[in-house]
Symmetry: C2
Subunit: 370 residues, 2 copies
């Protein structure tokens, strides 16, 4: 195997998504110091563009120096203190991970569990809040990458705020590909990844914290268990420490920030609404083609960014995916967790969500499955 | 300020160090999926080269998906359980951080504190171990980036092992620039960063765990408090889960791995011994020049990779560094912690440790300080 020159795959799995040459070029710009005024200006631009893509005015919006799961952990360790009660909505792998991460923070985690692929109703969340009146926060996954289910979020915050709890959202597979209005939907804390609908390489986790979340953090009795992800320290670097100064915390991933800035610039050049509409159209195009082949979706309410379909009877999961990769250069994802061997996951994210890619993957699947 | 095209600085601060065009080119290669067989092969090569640079046979040697401080946290959360007693050797900022990180893991941290710039003797560490016989691990900084002090490590493990404790080493500013023999020196767990003597952009933290550390982790009664850094999960991806398979944990920072592999290839092409000797020569060359200008070092026992010098009377810290950056394109570091305003830190790391750079920074300082 030639490992010197990575192949040019068509990345239609659950992420990473295809990265445009513009973003790759930005990634390779000369490395600056993390306290260089020029780098600070680049970082500030990046955070401002992140606010636009999150549709928020939250000052504390920045890329965590880790992948999407570090974003989840950042939100959890800062908002949870040992003994807190929280609710985790579990309808797939990532809801389950949220439970695990929150338990490791010392929380008592109450779960609402659904059949994988289903989404939560307001009534279910209301009932859980009524049952657990001391709940500090409710964690829910907007785009469940393991099942392809698309969780509606509008109106949810009102239920959560009525109980003085925080709404925490996993938007790893929706940011930049699905409608997501952090301020309008009153989301208190949210995290995502760069390698999905933003089409930047993996390595950063955009997060945003609202005023209610900050108030809870400021009222903490104990330090967050993670120094690396401690927002009270990080904000002195990302938001400044007064007088324009920045307090060193850790050495920021400079080149990844260049790439993220370029990826966000591309999102905003296209226009967020146009981009979201494109993801909807490409999903529809794929869906029509899959329907015609008799392939069915796992979730009732599918994401546009990730298409989780049942593996048809008679098809060999591993062989089909290997042929797609080896013969067509196309990566799709296998099933995750209880879906392993039962589902395929076709991602149409960011730079990868195009007519060409939809038609290519359909053509290749038709060839292989016929 | 033009933020579109980052300036080409000469990075002679405490890191990031200058990144060669080879590494930048590797960084910009097409993104592969993190479970693609080609990417797994690249990752395996990277880990194998890391073993060579760490001079270890430790199977569990891999780059943590975060910056150097994530490496420190990874080692701490996996080796420490709440209530454990540990010793942290504090003679600068990074020893102090080790204490903070370990306390957040629930450890009772006993510290040995020295004047900044000094290094620890075997006697001091022996005495601390005698005083705290339940010590589970001793954490010490090989290359204290805040003071430039070079801590000798040889023979230390014997003292620590005699008490059945683990030796944990911070090698962020030494790996690839100073002699560092993980197996020969019986270091049980070690972490570093990519942006120092490896001259790769910041974003990954190479770590290595020996058998004794693994045994302690396997004997844990509780899960590590961090899911993101939980080695019992990570090793199923980095080392495989039997049968050649890899278990998805998080989406690895694919492009950063390309860059690290290229950076490590450059280290091994030069030869580790040659590279270490080059760092020693460049340090000596700088030192002679600084001496001639009447500039003195903070530590008695200086690193070759980082030169921490006292700011001469009459020089304005901020103005000198701003002039170096604006007029000469040279970044050096200011003082950190108690050294702020009192010291400059001149890094000669990896790709940046060259005759040209030594002579340039000396010439520029002579101009500015005359």
């Amino acid at each position: 195997m030639n490992t010197q020159f990575p192949a040019e795959r068509i990345l239609l799995g659950p992420g990473p998504s295809p990265v445009s040459s513009r973003v790759l070029r930005a990634l390779a710009a000369p490395t600056l110091g993390h306290l260089d005024p020029q780098y600070i200006a680049i970082l500030d631009e990046t955070c401002e563009m992140l606010r636009q893509v999150f549709q928020t005015k939250n000052q504390l919006t920045f890329p965590v120096s880790g992948t999407g799961m570090a974003g989840m952990e950042c939100v959890a360790v800062n908002l949870i203190e040992p003994g807190d009660e929280v609710i985790a909505c579990v309808n797939g792998v990532f809801g389950g991970r949220m439970k695990d991460v929150m338990e490791r923070c010392g929380a008592t985690v109450h779960t609402i569990e659904l059949v994988w692929g289903d989404v939560f109703s307001h009534e279910q969340i209301s009932a859980a809040l009524e049952q657990h009146p001391k709940t500090k926060l409710v964690g829910i996954v907007h785009a469940e990458t393991s099942t392809g289910a698309h969780q509606p979020l509008e109106g949810l915050a009102n239920l959560v705020r009525a109980r003085d709890a925080l709404l925490v959202v996993d938007a790893v597979t929706s940011l930049g590909g699905h409608e997501l209005r952090v301020d309008e939907w009153k989301i208190d804390a949210i995290y995502s990844g760069t390698q999905k609908c933003l089409s930047c390489p993996p390595g950063l986790a955009p997060v945003s914290f609202g005023e209610r979340a900050l108030a809870k953090m400021d009222a903490r009795k104990s330090k967050p268990q993670s120094w690396y992800l401690d927002v009270s320290l990080l904000r002195k670097y990302y938001n400044g420490a007064g007088g324009g100064g920045r307090v060193y915390h850790h050495t920021a991933p400079v080149n990844m920030t260049y790439a993220l800035r370029e990826a966000l610039a591309i999102v905003l050049e296209e226009g967020l609404d146009n981009r979201i509409a494109r993801h909807a159209r490409m999903h529809q195009r794929l869906r029509v083609g899959l329907d015609a082949m008799g392939l069915s979706y796992v979730p009732k309410h599918s994401l546009h960014t990730l298409n989780c379909i049942n593996i048809p009877a008679g098809a060999d999961d591993a062989i089909v995916r290997k042929r797609l990769l080896d013969e067509y250069g196309i990566e799709i994802g296998g099933g995750l967790g209880v879906m392993a061997g039962k589902a395929w996951r076709i991602g149409l994210m960011g730079h990868g969500s195009t007519v060409r890619n939809v038609d290519l993957v359909l053509a290749a699947l038709r060839e292989i499955l016929r």
